[in-house]
Amino acid sequence: MGVSLLDRETRDVLGAEDEVIRLFDDSRAPLFRYLRWIGSSTEEADDAIQEAFLRLHAHLLAGGERQNLRAWVFRVAGNLVRDERKSGRRRFSRPLESEQHDRHSWADPAAGPEQRVLAGESERRLEVAIRRLPPDQQNCLALRSQGFRYREIAEILGVGTTTVADLLRRAVRKLSTELV
């Protein structure tokens, strides 16, 4: 029989830290992309991610619910960005257009100059079209692109699955019309 040398409180603290770090390793990259998509700069996304995981840590230490923590941390980080935007402080968010230097072009670097220009133009048109969408549709698209299922998107945004399907349908229809 193994005997732990740590008392229960210390084990709880270390267990919560392990859980937070495991989730951080699994989720940071898609969470960063999601926050950038909904308008955060690199630094603001970093701060929102840090704050969201610290809140997760406190949530676990307080004995909070442990189901679907990935959705939990996306919801908290997204709310941080949205709340900052509403408050006007914009610590966690600012317009994506001002962050072009942080973006990677998806144009094939091996393509010729003409193809790169065309690809760059497609990128610009897509981004402009995305920014014209209502925020709830942008949010759904951003979460869908991070691999979330409709029911998970619904949980993160606090809406029904049917609403998510409808928001995505309208967003994709609008984009396909604009990008023809």
Binding site: L5, E9, T10, D12, V13, E17, V20, I21, F24, D25, R28, A29, F32, R33, R36, W37, T42, A45, D46, I49, Q50, F53, L54, H57, A58, L61, R103, H104, S105, W106, S122, E123, L126, E127, I130, L141, A142, R144, S145, Q146, R149, Y150, A165, D166, L168, R169, V172, R173, L175, S176, L179, V180
Partner: protein, 190 residues
């Protein structure tokens, strides 16, 4: 559905793997023969691919180690339980604590070297114990054990007991170890 086209939602759900099994079989039967729906499906797939590329373009190119280390540091500062386990210790208290640990290690090593002896377990008396300085003078025996050990005579000096260290030899002692595994007090027997 043979004469009805797929809805946009059905096409998108198919692309996203969100169609229920019953709807999927209906969809598959229809799409096989409907060029218009095939075109619309292709168009939705193209938008989906472009959105994936857009998402990839937002990826963080910096190594994640810095953000990870920053989070770990912040958690350590915000864990009240961990903070409580960091008592402020003066160098003198740390030196005493180190000396006590030396006692304990020497004692354990001695016990391991010697053949196991049946240690009489009368109800222990806790008089005569010298509290080790970092133990907060708490000699309460609850949950602790008393180890019988042999130490070099110089150990007396570490405990603040005058002794002829130069005379060499060994001295028998009992070490009271608390439930937390720390040596709390020592009692020399000769």
């Amino acid at each position: 559905m043979r004469n009805e086209h797929c809805s946009d939602e059905m096409l998108l759900r198919h692309v996203d793997g969100e169609l229920e099994p019953a709807a999927r079989s209906v969809f598959e039967r229809h799409i096989e023969t409907c060029a218009a729906c095939q075109d619309r499906l292709r168009s939705i797939g193209d938008v989906s691919d472009a959105l994936e590329d857009f998402s990839d373009s937002l990826a963080d190119s910096r190594p994640p180690a810095f953000a990870r280390a920053r989070l770990i540091r912040a958690m350590a500062h915000t864990s009240p339980a961990l903070e409580r386990r960091k008592p402020a210790r003066s160098p003198a208290r740390m030196a005493f604590a180190f000396a006590a640990d030396v006692f304990l290690l020497i004692g354990i090593a001695t016990l391991i070297r010697q053949p196991p002896a049946v240690i009489p377990q009368p109800k222990p008396s806790f008089t005569g114990f010298i509290a080790l300085p970092y133990s907060d003078n708490n000699l309460a025996p609850e949950g602790g054990v008393v180890l019988q050990v042999e130490l070099p005579r110089s150990a007396l000096l570490l405990a603040g007991v005058p002794a002829a260290a130069a005379a060499g030899g060994r001295v028998k002692a009992e070490i009271m170890v608390g439930a937390d595994g720390l040596a709390r007090a020592i009692r020399f027997q000769n």
